[in-house]
């Protein structure tokens, strides 16, 4: 599989480590009254779609950046790759 790194271009997936659903970016508020429920959903509840999936990959053997990859779980086609950090609006 090839992941098209936004800064480095296409790289073999073997340079990366997969984490999971991109919703892991949205850590719940630990102070909230519903924190226990929120964290449970955050860690364990997943849609697991047969189709487009946003997921987190770590470029461990490259630039150590975390990427959000939009990949179709049926066809394996990757349609978008973003830097995780910039998706939070901090870097252009």
């Amino acid at each position: 599989m090839i992941i098209n790194h936004p800064l480095l271009g296409p790289r073999d997936a073997s340079e990366f480590v997969y984490l999971g659903d991109a919703s892991l970016m949205n850590r719940p508020n630990p102070k909230s009254e519903t924190a226990a429920e929120d964290f449970h959903a955050y860690m364990y509840l997943r849609d697991n779609p047969p189709g487009e999936h946003r997921e987190l990959w770590f470029h461990e053997q490259g630039d150590r950046s975390w990427l959000i990859v939009t990949r179709n779980t049926l066809t394996h086609e990757i349609t978008k790759v973003e830097l995780a950090r910039s998706s939070k609006g901090l870097i252009t």
Binding site: M25, A36, H76, A84, K88
Partner: protein, 943 residues
């Protein structure tokens, strides 16, 4: 123009007999040249078999290559390039090919039909394992596996191109030429050692000249282009995601040479052109497997390319017009309702019988049932091919091709030369290759009438390699195995090393006939890589034996080797486990001594392998507060602190110490095993959870050589190493202090007063370039104190004696609470894992708790992994109270000590329990005690 060089004779042996062939021969053509007809015995029935094809589709002529006392089994004689000195042997004939006792299976065939082993050999039950199975196993199989190391080397490599052209026949050659001429980076992969494909067997003219000339001109032009690379004897075996292909290049068939025998290539392509051609299929009729019965195109190949005649009286049985160019004396035209209904000549074809009653003398029967495009690579990503009724074959499904793949030539069902060139032109245009006009060539047509099977009572072979007959297929259907996937598994049709290249389509046509469905309704089985067999050695490449994985060496490795260390593999690291001294009988002698010496005077251990992460930034402290359960933001510079890290689900992930060097500079340590995991976790927190923080990470595990110096004389030793301007007295440098110092007259160093052993201890670090020099200086300086090196075993004994948790306790199931560190978790701040660590199940009243254990009878040995059962309860799993996690013999106390997790452990000090070892099947009584066995008040640390 000849492809056979009669000036270069090559000697070879087959089954011990010597023969000669020529440069350009395959083993198969050389055998035919020498009139060797019998080349193997079939898998199940041990029927005499001869060469049937001329390429990788060959199902019968599987041989072993022998050299240097090793043997490579199951090689097709048709794809072995003849070399001088080749020693080949037939397979599956015992005691010999000519006289095979298991040919009796052929006469027993009524009892050996498909699935026989599911229906027979059932009684008596005990006989299956001891008698039947071993006998069947001995009788089955083809080649032999020699239990010796493979003497050959294999490499793996990576190639990049704009266009990968798969197949070097006329379509592939023209496509590569067009692409190369417009400057594209082209790789042309051809599985044979000569380019030309179909042109090597058929009398085709291009530009009014023999087509081989055209092929050679194209090859010359391709080789002149820097941007084109031709891979010979390279089979593209798999089509993977995103334009990635796997290809196997065979450099030589000779065993034991100095270079790599094969190279496994991973090819990254922007576009691919599949020009893999087509495979001819035979027809099923009674006794259609005799030596001398061959595919028509193979007969032509041997005649034209290899300049040998497979027979004198050649008959041709065909359902299409393409086969008619095969030289023959008699034509049996299925389109005119002429069939072959039987054959004679067990070890060599003698005659054939036709449906009109004629018996015809023939020593070679060329058979053609039509052509199957080699669609395989188009289907490796779950596409299924589409049936074309007119051409009587499956074609690639153009709606589900792998991305950016184009199919041309015979692989696309273009069976005439003009169609071939037209398909190249169209694809070339689509890819922007500005294709030239197609060269003038023969005008051909392809006319075929579907015909699969001459029905009759006698066995008609479909899958030659696995000995599957037409009867087997109809029997499978009768027994309820009617789907094409079931028929495959029940009959083993298409499951041999040829993967049904010459048999699958006939098989499913027969199945369709039996079920009353059409061929498209019956469908095909799933296509999977590899297209042709790939040796496991090629997948391993150079990564075998000591190169299976990298070896990481510590800074003191050379010194440790000189000192007689025994090494243990910890992941990729080689760590010193203990240092045996002369006279010591076993590891216990050494380890006990190392512990006694360290606790009694001073010992040194290489702890460089522990992860070190350099953390800098204005928010470094706040960041550590988020990842550790306890507080680090307010840690003073020049101080260290123990930290525990949780996963977000509340389970303890890793522990270590972090040192603060300045307001914005920390250095974190992790366990050896988790260095990579923790770094990944921290980068996730930094980039994805808290991106607003100014914090930056980099690994310094390898940057610093770090040694633990522990024991009552540790300070005295270090004062001889650390330069005098740096005061490391107890007052100036108390427990948990850290500092940047110099050693040995000005060399940069760091020192941390940390203790895993519980003794007065420090860790001293220098840039790794000085690591070897430092360990020697330390050991030298320590001589007056009787210093010893200690390894991971002694390290483990001492931390267990002190009740320190390590990997055994941080095992992925335990929380801070289980570890007895619940109070360590700061109540004032959030951290990763805090919320979910408070889940009901993790904080139950009777939750497991880490405590210490001693044997009630001090002479008993405690074993790790034992489970605790209350005295009085049955010693079974349902009464489980917890488990032992770490055990050591304490030289100081003179008995075994253990750490373990026990339900409500904190409230059970003094209780006696069973420690039941379910694996070794014994149990002893243990008592619950504090986990701090040696120096429980920690006085030595602060001295």
């Amino acid at each position: 123009m000849s492809l056979i060089n009669k000036n270069i004779p090559l000697s070879f042996t087959f089954d011990g007999k010597s023969y000669f062939g020529f440069e350009g021969d395959t083993l198969a053509s050389a055998l035919i040249r020498n009139k060797v007809r019998l080349v193997g015995r079939s898998f199940k029935y041990h029927r005499p078999r001869g060469i049937m094809g001329a390429g990788s589709e060959e199902p019968n002529a599987l041989v072993e290559i022998h050299a240097d006392g090793v043997c490579e089994p199951n090689r097709r004689a048709t794809t072995i390039k003849l070399f001088d000195g080749l020693s080949a042997k037939s397979q599956n004939g015992s005691p010999s090919l000519g006289f095979d006792v298991l040919a009796i299976n052929d006469w027993l065939s009524p009892f050996l039909s498909t699935g026989f082993y599911y229906k027979t050999f059932m009684w008596p039950k005990a006989f299956w394992e001891k008698v039947y199975e071993p006998a069947i196993r001995r009788a089955a199989g083809l080649g032999k596996i020699i239990q010796k190391p493979d003497p050959d080397s294999y490499d793996k490599g990576f190639l990049h191109c704009d266009v990968l052209v798969i197949g070097g026949g006329p379509a592939g050659l023209q496509a590569a030429l067009d692409a190369g001429r417009v400057g594209k980076r082209v790789i042309l992969a051809n599985d044979d050692f000569v380019l030309g494909g179909r042109l090597l067997s058929d009398p085709i003219l291009i530009n009014d000249k023999p087509s081989i000339e055209w092929a050679q001109n194209v090859e010359a032009e391709l080789r002149s282009m820097d941007n084109v690379r031709i891979l010979e004897r390279t089979t593209v075996y798999g089509a993977y995601d995103h334009g990635i292909f796997g290809a196997l290049e065979t450099k030589t068939d000779e065993i034991g040479g100095s270079g790599a025998r094969m190279v496994l290539w991973k090819i990254y392509s922007k576009a691919s052109i599949l020009a893999a051609g087509a495979t001819e299929r035979p027809i099923a009729f009674a006794n259609n497997d005799r030596p001398g019965i061959m595919l028509a195109s193979a007969v032509r190949t041997y005649q034209k390319r290899f300049e040998v005649d497979p027979g004198v009286n050649i008959a041709l049985f065909s359902n299409n017009n393409n086969a008619l160019s095969t030289l023959h004396k008699v034509l049996i035209d299925a389109r005119e309702n002429e069939f072959v209904i039987d054959t004679q000549g067990r070890k060599s074809l003698k005659s054939i019988r036709l449906n009109d009653g004629r018996n015809i003398k023939a020593d070679c029967l060329a058979v053609s049932g039509g052509w199957n495009p080699n669609v395989h690579l188009t289907c490796h990503q779950r596409s299924r091919p589409v049936w074309d009724e007119k051409k009587s074959c499956f074609l690639p499904n153009i709606n589900s091709l792998p991305k950016n793949m184009h199919v041309i030539g015979a692989a696309n069902g273009n069976f005439t030369m003009s169609e071939v060139f037209e398909s190249v032109r169209l694809t070339g245009k689509a890819l922007g290759h500005k294709p030239a006009d197609s060269p003038p060539t023969d005008s051909e047509t392809y006319e075929v009438t579907a015909f699969w099977h001459v029905k009759g009572k006698k066995r008609a072979w479909v899958d030659y390699q696995n000995d599957v007959t037409a009867k087997d297929i109809t029997l499978a259907h009768q027994e309820g195995f009617s789907s094409v996937e079931h028929v495959k598994r029940y009959t083993t049709l298409g499951m041999a090393t040829d993967q049904g290249r010459t048999s699958n389509v006939i098989g499913l046509a027969i199945l369709a006939d039996a079920t009353g469905q059409t061929i498209p309704e019956t469908g095909t089985t799933i296509f999977r890589p590899p297209f042709t067999p790939v040796p496991i050695g090629a997948f391993a490449g150079p990564h075998k034996e000591q190169h299976f994985k990298p070896t990481r060496l510590t800074p003191s490795h050379k010194y440790a080797e000189e000192s007689g260390a025994t090494f243990v593999e910890t992941g990729y690291w080689k760590r010193s486990q203990w240092f045996a001294k002369e006279g010591e009988q076993g590891w216990r002698d050494s380890v006990d001594r190392e512990v006694i010496t360290t606790r009694g005077s001073v010992g040194i251990c290489d702890v460089s392998t522990l992860g070190k992460i350099d953390i800098q930034g204005k928010d470094a402290g706040a960041f550590l507060n988020k990842v550790y359960v306890n507080s680090f933001k307010l840690l003073k510079p020049s101080k260290c602190r123990y930290g525990l890290m949780l996963r977000e689900d509340g389970i303890a992930m890793d522990d270590g110490t972090s040192a603060r060097f300045s307001d914005t500079h920390y250095v974190m340590t992790t366990t050896t095993a988790n260095a990579g995991t923790v770094f990944r976790h921290l980068e996730f927190a930094r980039q994805c959870l808290f991106p607003e923080m100014d914090v930056h990470l980099i690994s310094t595990t390898e940057q610093w050589a770090q040694y633990s110096v522990a024991g009552p004389n540790a300070r005295k030793l270090l004062q001889k190493i650390v330069d005098p301007e740096h005061d490391i007295s107890n007052e100036a440098f108390p427990y948990m202090a850290c500092g940047q110092v110099t050693v040995c007259g000005g060399t940069r160093a760091r020192i941390f007063r940390l203790s895993f052993s519980g003794e007065l201890a420090y860790e001293i670090a220098v840039p790794t370039r000085y690591g070897d020099a430092l360990i020697r200086k330390l050991m030298n300086a320590g001589e007056e104190f009787g210093v010893c090196m200690y390894g991971t075993e002694a390290l483990g004994v001492m931390r267990i004696e002190k009740g320190h948790a390590a990997g055994n306790e941080l095992n992925g199931q335990t929380t801070a609470g289980h570890l007895g560190l619940g109070g360590f978790v700061s109540k004032k701040k959030d951290c990763i894992g805090k919320v979910l660590s408070q889940r009901e199940g993790l904080i139950a009243d009777d939750a497991l708790r880490l405590v210490g254990f001693v044997a009630v009878d001090p002479s008993d040995q405690i074993t790790n992994g034992a489970h605790f059962i209350n005295i009085g309860d049955d010693r079974i799993a349902t009464n489980d109270q917890g488990y032992m996690s770490s055990v050591a013999y304490s030289p100081e106390l003179g008995h075994y000590v253990g750490l373990g997790f026990l339900k409500s452990g904190a409230n059970r000090k003094g209780d006696e329990l069973w420690a039941v070892d379910f694996v070794r099947n014994h149990h002893i009584k243990v008592r619950v005690v504090s986990p701090h066995f040696v120096d429980p008040d920690g006085e030595r640390l602060r001295g």
